[in-house]
Amino acid sequence: MKFKPRPLARNVNVSQGSRLWDLCLLLSGMVAGLVLLFILAGFFVDSLVKFIPPSYEDLLGHHLTNNLDLSEDPRLDHILQRLEGEFAPDEANHTRHFRIGIIDREEINAVALPGGTIVVFSGLLKEVASENELAMIVGHELGHFAHQDHLTRLGRVLLFGIASRLVLGEAISSRLTAFFTRTLHASYSRRQETAADLYGLSLLVKAYGHAGGAVDFFIRIAERRRSGRLAHLVASHPHPEDRIEILKKTIQAKGWPVSSKIALPETPPP
């Protein structure tokens, strides 16, 4: 047998076709899977959250807030008491016990934590000019409790995070799910925020008899943070200008008066 050297005519060991097209197909499949997972996680959490007993929520809250350096402020306690007196007898908040405090962080934010704890960041307190404005913010957080947003949010993020990590694996999941959680959660979260705004507004009007101070804080924040609409596409909160517009429209539609606000003492009374 004579040996005839011949070069390879075609490489059969390497599949033909574009790798980029492969990437597009796989990515689309993965995105579709993540969206489905998010919907399922949301559905699952939303239906289960109603069955979480308050005692378990308190336990969860205790674990979460145990290490928080929460300091009390009589101004906040006063506002909370005033708002608590206005809960409708049939709503979930009526029978709950709430706790409010400050943590020393420059961020302008306040959060509602499981177990009925409202945390106001010291950065936010510096920005607030009147008691009514602060009452609106506390009312907003109470709105999250009324709608059980604090639990659904935590549950959705947790479940989606765990499920996606199991499916995608640690390496892809860490970067992609952070983005998808935020993006997918954004519109749901914005709806929650708007609902909490409206709850806070109605509580403010009930407690103070007028809607003064409902939008002032947001106006100040909107002027300071002139971030574009693009950045707010994936933001967890609605654009401040949208919040102001919705609140103003509601005040107008309900015909609530807007009177003068009560000044907030500079430092907490001893």
């Binding site: 060991n13 790798r19 492969d22 899977g33 499916v167 971030s227 950045a231």
Partner: protein, 166 residues
């Protein structure tokens, strides 16, 4: 805009690494394939076969075990594509070129280590993954191929009268 970028720094890093891996990886791969084809053409007359015996003992002037090995690393794009493929299953096309290049390079290096030989018989190929946790974070993922065989120099070959020197 800056806020949006800051929020998605992780995703943008991933995009950057995948793009970098694709562009640089493709360039490197094309260059390697060009080099492989050129060298394969040059060494085409030296067959490397898997049969154990080719010539009668009388014809053999000398024989020696020769080997060649090559380690080829994956790029970020290939690794990303393979990870996605791991979810859905199917052919991991992105790794095919890697193994193919590594195998061909190893054979070429083996052939290059047997100058003047008439044939390489009993050729075997072994592959090994360097960095077993190739799919894990910050791990190096590479494939090594080792090609080895017995190079045979014949008495009847053009250089048969000269003493055998390797």
């Amino acid at each position: 805009m800056i806020e949006l970028i800051m929020q998605n720094v992780g995703l943008l890093t991933l995009l950057f690494l995948v793009t970098l891996g694709y562009t640089v990886g493709t360039l490197v791969e094309k260059r390697h394939y060009r080099s492989l084809m050129k060298r394969e053409q040059a060494l085409l007359t030296l067959p490397a076969v898997t049969i154990k015996h080719d010539q009668s003992v009388d014809e053999i002037r000398g024989s020696m075990m020769v080997s060649g090995s090559a380690v080829i690393s994956i790029d970020y794009f290939k690794r990303f594509l393979a990870r996605l493929r791991n979810i859905f299953g199917g052919r991991v096309k992105s790794y095919e070129t890697l193994v193919d290049r590594s195998r061909r390079e190893a054979i070429l290096r083996m052939k290059a280590s047997a100058p003047g030989a008439a044939i390489i018989v009993n050729m075997r190929l072994e592959t090994a993954a360097i960095g077993n946790s190739a799919n894990q974070k910050r791990m190096i993922g590479s494939v090594e191929t080792l090609a080895y065989g017995t190079a045979i120099w014949l008495r009847t070959s053009p250089t048969s009268e000269a003493p055998l020197k390797i």
